[in-house]
């Protein structure tokens, strides 16, 4: 692979021996990816895509798939329709295979403010180190946890591994489903992701299997290194069930500016997928400096009859969030659900919502969106409910509630509906409220301080969505809102 080197795109490796070692280690280690010493220089070109693919030891078809996506991406204009204020992104300034920068060596070198947050969230000590990006030894509690996991899953026939590993080990499955829900050319960021995705998760649950545990990236140690272009694919065959938890519940400080992930879910006959996200990327500081641009394409395909896909998300991080987890309700009587809490503070911007595409007969969808704006932030719900001609008896219920904290934030709701079948019933309810002085005084007169009162009221506002989260996630989500709202009053 080193023969591919050219003058203008040098793989920044120290020497060939290290390349071999790095690659070799990756194959051997499998689950834990050690890529500390490798990185590509900034910039994007066909060469870079090829090198990236080679670095990851991918088969030919994958390289071609990436190249096709890249060529398509070149023809696409950057979208600008969301209600976001955004400076143009210089794609040539990004390094597309950036192994983690040499992180802090120990917790002593980590920003104390960050550690304080972990403390409040109750993240265990060894997790804190990992989350803060401290270079950790491979011999780690979680590794053994991960291994136990894999054994139990393997016995059930469930495949749960990194996308890189899946491409190498389960190529046929990946090839069959990858891009079948979100095609490479679907949108600008999906195309970019398809060309340069670094890693992500792959889940395959075979026919009739109910995945014996909640799957979570939390347990996959190299998930913290997957960087800005994640690619996740979850497939549930007939009658299979899986609940997947994405993201770290603790705030990850990521130096990257752009996070453009793609998540694809496929549910076959009577299959059910429950996908929960708690996202808390770095939101930038009080003045809106820094922070992640979170541009994510998430889509589930209810391909089989009577299948069900349910998205639950709690979004508190990122400077800019732009995502619409969607369901394509193709199978008859299939069900799509979207439960969302999006919180913005300081100068954060969020434009999020969902798309429910009713194609099959008797399909149902339910949308519950809770937006909370504080500081000078802007929070938009944008949702599309589309009922195609053949979707007899389709039903949708949408509820959008916004809560404003303070006087300088904004909440917006953009519901779109396209109904082409007269038997469909589509309902939309929206409310906007403020935390009233009365509520605050009521809490305080009972002895509850201002910040606790706000988080209590916000928690109550979100209850409907938190109920959908797995127990331990719900607890952490609540804490996360508390941390995110610090300084929102007074």
């Amino acid at each position: 692979m080193t023969s591919e080197r050219s003058d203008n795109s040098v793989i920044a490796l120290r020497d060939n021996a290290e390349v071999a070692e790095a690659l070799g280690r990756r194959y051997e280690a499998g689950f834990v990816t050690d890529i500390e010493t490798t990185s590509l220089p900034p910039g994007l070109s066909e060469d870079i895509v090829r090198q990236l693919s080679a670095l990851k030891g991918e088969p030919e078809w994958m390289t071609e798939w990436r190249l096709k996506a890249y060529r398509h991406w070149l023809t696409m204009p950057a979208p600008d329709w969301a209600k976001l204020r955004l400076d143009p992104i210089d794609y040539q300034a990004i390094s597309y295979y950036a192994a983690p920068k040499a992180g802090p060596k120990s917790l002593d070198e980590v920003d104390p403010k960050l550690l304080e947050t972990y403390e409040k969230l109750g993240v265990p000590l060894h997790e804190r180190a990992k989350l803060a990006g401290v270079a950790v030894d491979a011999v780690f509690d979680s590794v053994s946890v991960g291994t136990t996991f894999r054994k139990e899953l393997a016995e059930a026939g469930v495949i749960f591994c990194s996308m890189s590993e899946a491409i190498r080990e389960h190529g046929d499955l990946v090839r069959q489903y990858l891009g079948s829900v979100v095609p490479a050319g679907d949108n600008y960021f999906a195309a970019l992701n398809s060309a340069v995705f670094s890693d992500g998760s792959f889940v395959f649950v075979p026919s009739g299997v109910r995945c014996p545990m909640e799957l979570s990236t939390y347990f996959r140690i190299n998930a913290i290194n997957t960087g800005q272009f994640e690619r996740t694919l979850i497939v549930c065959e007939d009658d299979a069930y899986v609940s997947y938890l994405e993201g770290c519940t603790a705030p990850m400080r990521d130096e990257n500016q752009l996070h453009a992930a793609v998540v694809e879910l496929v549910a076959l006959e009577r299959a059910q997928i429950k996908y929960s996200t708690v996202q808390n990327w770095y939101p930038g500081d009080e003045n809106g400096v820094g922070g992640i641009y979170n541009f994510v394409t998430k889509r589930g395909d209810c391909r089989g009859d009577d299948s069900k896909i349910s998205w639950t998300q709690v979004e508190t991080g990122s400077a800019i969030t732009w995502k619409y987890p969607s369901c394509v309700l193709r199978g008859d009587r299939s069900v799509g659900e979207f439960h969302s809490v999006a919180l913005t503070h300081h100068r954060q911007q969020a434009d999020t919502g969902t798309k429910m595409i009713h194609i099959g007969k008797g399909t149902k969808s339910k949308i519950v969106s809770k937006g909370i704006s504080a500081g000078r932030s802007s929070n938009s719900y944008r949702g599309l409910v589309k009922v195609e001609k053949g979707a007899d008896g389709a039903r949708n219920y949408t509820q959008c509630d916004s809560l404003l904290i303070g006087k300088r934030c904004g909440a917006h709701t953009f519901p779109y509906m396209e109904v082409k079948n007269p038997s469909a019933i589509v309902e939309h309810e929206a409310t906007t409220s403020k935390i009233s002085d009365d509520q605050m005084f009521y809490c305080r007169s009972r002895g509850i301080g201002e910040e606790d009162a706000v988080s209590m009221i916000v928690d109550g506002f979100c209850k409907q969505v938190f109920r959908e989260l797995p127990m331990e996630f719900a607890v952490e989500a609540k804490k996360l809102l508390e941390v995110s709202l610090e300084g929102a009053v007074g």
Binding site: Q439, Y442, S445, D459
Partner: protein, 255 residues
């Protein structure tokens, strides 16, 4: 316990309290009566520390502490409780959870150990019996969808759990039918003790038939113009507040 001296307070630039003085000792029940607009509710809100009520003169000491210097939550921890005239709904927040958070924050503030769920539940069960409130009320969100009577009873139930030294009941009788009124009164009476004082703000004598006060004060135009025992309330009932206007000389002015 509570000593209010020459209290002046403004709301939206308008002077409402104009030199109110009042002393309340532990175990006493004081009724504050008066016509609409006399400043009854303002007094309750000033004592509890609501925003927008500006004290321009006078002082309030509570157990020797300058009450006006404390934040509302600090006043609560010090033992001041205000039963709201219009209890506030907090959607999605469980009633029990709310109350436990309130109690534990207060206890923490006072340097007392917090109650765990089991201890708290035991306390709640005990108080429920006295209040005759159904369990079901506990599992609902704070005041959400409660009837008027349920809201008022919930206030008294909160008081029972929080065990304040001074309870201010702001028009707790308003909007209640006679049965609900009796229940609320029963709850209040059950909580009378030699250590606890009550300040009952009310427009009507009716409540005093069920909660017998030790003192009755008539508040008019921001001052206490007449003080007496419970017979004063009966006199008011007979003769109306117009009598006060003719008869009363500001008590504050004498002091």
């Amino acid at each position: 316990m509570l000593k209010i001296e020459n209290l002046h307070a403004r709301v939206e630039g308008k002077e409402i309290l104009k030199g109110l003085s009042l002393t309340v000792n532990p175990g006493e029940v004081h009724a504050i009566m008066g016509p609409n607009g006399a400043g009854k509710s303002t007094l309750g809100n000033v004592l509890a520390g609501r925003d927008g009520y500006e004290v321009t003169a006078g002082s309030v000491s509570f157990d020797g502490v300058d009450l006006l210097a404390l934040e509302p939550e600090e006043r609560a921890a010090a033992g001041v409780f205000l039963a709201f005239q219009y209890p506030v709904e907090i959607p999605g927040v469980n009633n029990t959870y709310f109350l436990r958070a309130a109690l534990n924050t207060q206890r923490k503030q006072r340097g007392e150990p917090e109650l765990d769920s089991m201890q708290f539940l035991r306390l709640v069960r005990e108080k429920l019996k006295v209040m005759r409130i159904s369990d079901e009320l506990l599992h609902r969100a704070v005041n959400e969808g409660f009837s008027g009577g349920e809201k008022k009873r919930n206030e008294i139930f909160q008081m029972a759990v929080l065990e304040p030294k001074l309870a201010i009941l702001d028009e707790t009788d308003s909007g209640l039918d006679i049965d609900a009124l009796k229940q609320v009164a029963q709850g209040v009476n059950a909580q009378r003790s030699p250590q606890r004082a009550f300040l009952m703000i009310t427009h009507y004598q009716r409540l005093l038939d069920y909660i017998e006060p030790d003192f009755v004060h008539v508040l008019a135009d921001g001052r206490i113009v007449e003080s007496g025992d419970k017979t004063l309330a009966l006199k008011l009932e007979e003769q109306g507040y117009a009598w006060v206007a003719e008869h009363g000389e500001p008590a504050g002015a004498k002091a």
